[in-house]
């Protein structure tokens, strides 16, 4: 019996690869197993390749292993396209359809199985071969057949299985004489069912929780699920949803809706985020709350749309002309996706500023089976400062206050009409052209964000405080780094800091680097964007290294182990 397993499924589009992976993940989740399932696909909608990697864990939410324990292959031709994602080892068990090409070296435990023939014989169509294979997998992993039956009955998402349950049972009876004792999973430590979600889903739900009632977006990979989930959510909330003509319109509409007092969201990915740059400057200049989610993908330009990278940090913090302050948040796990979107709305409303949330393809689209109690936790929800009776006599929209945040009326509020503008303006909002007004307006917009530096809760620190060696990482790289440090048994020698608030940078991060003799910065982009940002914010130790490389493939345990060992000395 094993505590966890990493398996891969690969085939052509139309083989039902993602469906099969999702079904297995849901069945396992219903029995209490944690899991993560990244999807891989080529740009072709039909006929392209498709693969998933699924790691099931009976004890905790872990990351997939570098090498597969088990591979289901429906097409060797398609396997080639995902070879780097689906690495075989000597001990990998392979079940496959069709004759492998001569150059594929199959591990010892490889079994050729006529999935499509069995499907054809039993269901009259070869289209159910994924269900036949699923049946075999459930036997190999020792998933409880009786509980599977119950779940399939109850879960509407498993309707596909209900109609073809015999295909599943046929699969379970393939080669009855063979047993796979190494593959069997121990029962989940906590058998309470886990929820299957992804970061994009969590972010949309969090926006609704924060009181967002207007969404404006343009479809782009890999953020489209945020838009889909907002559509469903806003339908029930009777909110506003518009699929805009482009990202420029989407962000402009969000600014318009926010200006009149409705919390608004737009989500996009790199190329769309570029198009929003000018409008983000407007929201910063006119102090209009705005939340923008950027689910990062490989860039620059079109890059690799379906794969993850962390290369939009420079743009998020510094993008645009002029000195336009904004807030940049980056979650590193699913519950962070939820918590930080609520936080992002609170900061946007509380500080009247644009807030950019940097997610990425890995966080956004990897299906995760986990405990979702964070959905039901208590979250503080902040509303913007409104003018009161003090302001009734000659309302100044941009009144200089002690905290540099001025009460903001919304169109419709009686007695507070004002005009806003992206032009430099005085306290009343009237365009101004003099140096003094310009200087004081910049001070107002920058200084109002200063309290965020005290948000030490938005910089996580793991490990021993006294340690002189440390790592800083961010976003979806963080779980890989944390797991690697733990697996190497270096938790007492190395401490790890994961800033969730990247701009303005919390004091805690500065203190963290000041406490170190050796620092390693790990991130997934070519030029070391966080590393450079940190250098601009703090004096880094003389012994500072950066491990940065492009995206397109998650960090492997072995690559991180090498660099982490080096800094540990």
């Amino acid at each position: 019996m094993r505590a966890s397993i990493t398996l891969g499924i690969v085939g052509a589009g139309g083989h039902g690869i993602v469906a099969m992976g999702s079904l297995l993940q849901r069945i396992a989740a219903s029995q209490g197993y944690f899991s993560r399932m990244p999807r891989y696909y080529t740009a072709q909608i039909r006929g392209g390749g498709s693969a998933v990697r699924l790691n099931l864990d009976a004890r905790r939410l872990s990351l997939p292993g570098d090498v597969l324990d088990l591979l289901v292959c429906f097409s060797w031709e398609k396997y080639l396209e995902f070879e780097t994602e689906l690495t075989l080892g000597a001990d990998t068990v392979v079940v496959y359809e069709g004759e492998p090409p001569a150059w594929v070296v199959l591990p010892d435990n490889s079994f050729k199985i006529g999935f499509s023939r069995i499907s054809q014989d039993e269901t009259g169509s070869d289209r159910n071969m994924n269900l036949v294979a699923l049946g075999l997998l459930s036997r190999m992993l020792s998933l409880d057949r009786e509980r599977m039956g119950q779940v399939i009955e109850e879960d509407t998402a498993l309707q596909l299985l209900k109609d073809n349950i015999f295909a599943l049972d046929d699969g379970a009876n393939i080669f009855p004489q063979l047993s796979f004792p190494d593959m069997a999973l121990e029962p989940a430590r906590d058998e309470s069912p886990k929820a299957v979600i992804h970061g994009n889903n969590a972010m949309a739900r969090a926006a609704l929780r924060a009181g967002c009632r207007a969404y404006f977006g343009y479809p782009i990979t890999p953020s489209a699920e945020v838009m889909q989930d907002m559509l469903e959510g806003l339908f029930y909330e009777k909110g506003v949803f518009v699929q805009a003509e482009d990202e420029i319109a989407a962000v402009a509409m969000a600014i318009g809706a926010s200006f009149v007092g409705v919390k608004s969201l737009t989500a996009t990915s790199g190329p769309g985020f570029d198009l929003m740059t000018e409008s983000i400057g407007l929201a910063s200049a006119a102090e209009i709350p705005l939340v923008v989610i950027d689910v990062q993908r490989c860039g620059p330009s079109t890059g690799i749309p379906s794969k993850s990278e962390q290369a939009d940090l420079d743009h998020a913090i510094y993008g645009g002309h002029g000195d336009a302050p904004r807030v940049v948040l980056a979650p590193y796990d699913i519950d962070g996706c939820y918590r930080l979107v609520v936080e992002g709305f609170n900061i946007a409303e509380g500080f009247q500023t644009p807030v950019i949330l940097l997610s990425d393809q890995w966080l956004g689209q990897t299906f995760v089976a986990m405990d979702n109690s964070f959905f039901n936790s208590d979250y503080n929800v902040v509303e913007r400062k409104k003018p009161g009776t003090d302001d009734a006599d000659g309302y100044l929209r941009y009144r200089m206050t002690e905290d540099f945040i001025s009460p903001m009326a919304a169109a419709g509020d009686k007695g507070f009409t004002y005009r806003t503008t992206g032009l430099t303006h005085n306290q009343r909002g009237v365009p101004a052209f003099d140096y003094e007004t310009h200087q004081s307006l910049h001070e107002k917009r920058w200084k109002k964000l200063a309290p965020l530096r005290k948000r030490n809760d938005l910089a996580r620190v793991f490990g021993k405080g006294k340690s002189k060696k440390g790592l800083i990482t961010w976003g979806s790289s963080a779980p890989f780094v944390l797991e690697a440090v733990e697996e190497l048994g270096l938790k007492s020698e190395l401490k790890v800091c994961v800033p969730e608030l990247l701009h303005p940078l919390p004091d805690r991060v500065v203190k963290f680097v000041q406490s170190l003799d050796s620092l390693l910065v790990v991130e997934m982009n070519y030029s070391g964007q966080l590393h450079r940002h940190l250098r601009a914010q703090a004096d880094l130790p003389q012994d500072t290294r950066a491990y940065c490389r492009v995206g397109g493939r998650p960090f492997s345990r072995t690559e991180l182990a090498d660099v982490i060992r080096e800094v540990a000395g």
Binding site: A252, G256, A257, V260, G412, T417, G422
Partner: protein, 283 residues
């Protein structure tokens, strides 16, 4: 009724003395807003960048002088979020028909109930006289626009009205800044029309238009009146018809008249209106 003066702020316009924009400002603040009894706090004026886009600062309602080309989407976001507001967009030919042109067919498609006042002064004036998509190509000796000798405009110019007709905007009208009474009636009808309204305003730029431009426009201008015969340009092979703004096919014909040959003033088309909030429609 509120007094006209109450809709003007104390801010002094940046416009040149004699600028056509004063006509539109007067129509809005002295006649339309008080005439319709629109409460100042329930009214929002959104603009982009350009001479005419300075308008919000001068009108005491809620206002948003935003960035170049994006007034139309900002106004849509505001209107959809707060349908009870009266939302007016003001902008120029560069703002709406060059940098922001991509937004127009989509606001028409969605038929969001906002009123767009397109101030057409045939030129980029704020940047000092460059050609715009509506600048007519002129022959030498006629008082050429700045730099036309080296960079002539491309004919045919982009006609705002024919563009709106081709995308089937639900209310299409054209006025002239020098006839405030007529303009005021068009803007009022546009605001009252439930759905997207497009009103082009032929607006003289006293600094960069050649003298002859508005001389021609004023000489040839023809006022469209319901059920009265339409005056055709000399080049037209059509037979005259009685004006009927409910007929889109007639609006298409009108839109094909070359602007400088027969500038038409009035309501070209008034279509059926549809609600814009998609979620309420479904129930």
């Amino acid at each position: 009724m509120t007094k006209g003066g109450e809709y003007r702020t104390a801010v002094k316009p940046i416009w040149c003395s004699g600028c056509g924009n004063f006509g539109t400002l007067t129509a809005l603040t002295k006649r339309v807003l008080p005439g319709l009894g629109l409460p100042r706090h329930q009214t929002l004026i959104v603009s982009g960048i350009g001479c005419s886009s300075r308008m919000p600062a001068y009108v005491d309602t809620y206002g948003f002088n935003s960035i170049h080309g994006r007034a139309v989407p900002i106004a849509q976001g505001a209107k959809l979020a707060r349908p009870e507001l009266t939302v007016i967009v003001v902008g120029g030919d560069g703002d709406f028909f060059s940098i922001g042109a991509g937004h127009l067919p989509h606001v028409v498609r969605r038929n969001v109930d906002i009123t767009c006042i397109m101030v057409n002064n045939f030129i980029y004036a704020l940047t000092k006289g460059q050609i715009s998509p509506t600048t007519p190509n002129v022959r030498r000796g006629e008082g050429a626009f700045l730099s036309h000798e080296y960079y002539p405009p491309v004919n045919p110019l982009l006609d705002m009205v024919s563009y709106s007709a081709s995308t089937r905007a639900s209310f299409i009208a054209q006025g002239i800044a020098t006839d405030v009474t007529h303009l005021e009636s068009l803007i009022q009808q546009g605001i009252e029309h439930k759905g997207f309204s497009f009103i082009a305003v032929l607006t003289p730029c006293v600094t960069y238009n050649p003298q002859w431009l508005f001389e021609i426009i004023r000489e040839e201008a023809f006022y469209l009146r319901d059920a009265e015969p339409v005056s055709l340009p000399d080049s037209s092979a059509e037979r005259p018809w009685l004006h009927d703004p409910s007929d889109i096919s007639l609006a298409f014909k009108l839109a094909q008249f070359p602007l400088l040959e027969k500038p038409l003033l009035g309501v070209f088309f008034r279509g059926k209106t549809e609600a814009a909030n998609q979620f309420e429609d479904m129930e």
